[in-house]
Symmetry: C2
Subunit: 125 residues, 2 copies
C-alpha cells in the first residue's frame, strides 16, 4: 500500500482470502458498537444499493439480510471504510426490537473480561 492510498477517494474495498471484509456495526442513536459481522462483495453492494444492512453468515455460508427473519432490520445511516479499506464501519438505525444480538440483547458485547482466581472470567453486564 502506498502512502497515497490512504488519501484516495477511489472506492476499493479489500477483501480477505475468503472474500470477506469485517463490518463494525454501531447504533446511529448513540454510536454504541452493537456487533461485528462480515460482508462479501455482494453483501456490501446490496447494503449500499438498498440502504439495508446485508452480511455474509460464516456459520450458515449464506448471504443474510439482517432482520429478514427476526424483524430486527438495520437501515444504513452512514458507511465508512478505514485507512487501508479492509474494514467497514456502518452506522445503522435499528428497527424491530432494536436489538442486534441473536440473544435478544441490544449489543453482542454484554460480557466484560475481568481477572479471577484462575486467570480471567466474564462478567455479564
Amino acid at each position: 500500500m502506498s502512502k497515497g492510498d490512504e488519501e484516495s477517494t477511489v472506492f476499493a474495498p479489500r477483501y480477505d482470502d475468503k472474500g470477506l471484509i469485517p463490518a463494525i456495526v454501531t447504533d446511529a442513536k448513540d454510536g454504541a458498537v452493537v456487533m461485528l459481522a462480515y460482508m462479501n462483495a455482494e453483501a456490501l453492494r446490496l447494503t449500499l444499493e438498498t440502504g439495508e444492512a446485508h452480511y455474509w453468515s460464516r456459520s450458515r455460508g449464506e448471504l443474510w439480510r439482517k432482520g429478514a427473519t427476526s424483524g430486527d432490520t438495520q437501515k444504513v445511516v452512514d458507511l465508512r471504510l478505514d485507512c487501508d479499506q479492509d474494514t467497514v464501519l456502518v452506522s445503522v438505525a435499528m428497527a424491530g426490537r432494536g436489538v442486534a444480538c441473536h440473544t435478544g440483547r441490544h449489543s453482542c458485547f454484554y460480557r466484560r473480561v475481568k481477572p479471577s482466581s484462575q486467570g480471567y472470567e466474564l462478567e455479564i453486564i
Copy 2:
C-alpha cells in the same frame, strides 16, 4: 456453539484459523470507533496483564505494543467479548497525540462511501 455458551462466564476467546481475533477499538472519552486491529493469544494476554493495548500486526508479522514507536499508546479502560467470543471490544484512553490511525488522524474511519457517477467513491471527512 450451544445456547449456553452465550451466557457462560468462562473466558474462552475463539481465534480464527490464523490464530487471530479482531479487536474493535473505541475511544473511552466518547465511545467513537477509532480502529480495528487483530490480537493473537499473546497480544490479548499482554493487553490484559499490562493494561496497555497490544496487537498482532498482520503486515509486519509481529507483536506490537500500540504506540511503542509513535507514543500514541492506549490504556485499557474496558475489554469485552461478544456473544460467541470471537470478537474483542476494547475501550481505551488514548495517550500521546490522541490519535489511533497511522495517518495521524484520531480515527481510521475518516472516509465515507457515497454514490458517484461511476458507482461509489470515498469522501474524506
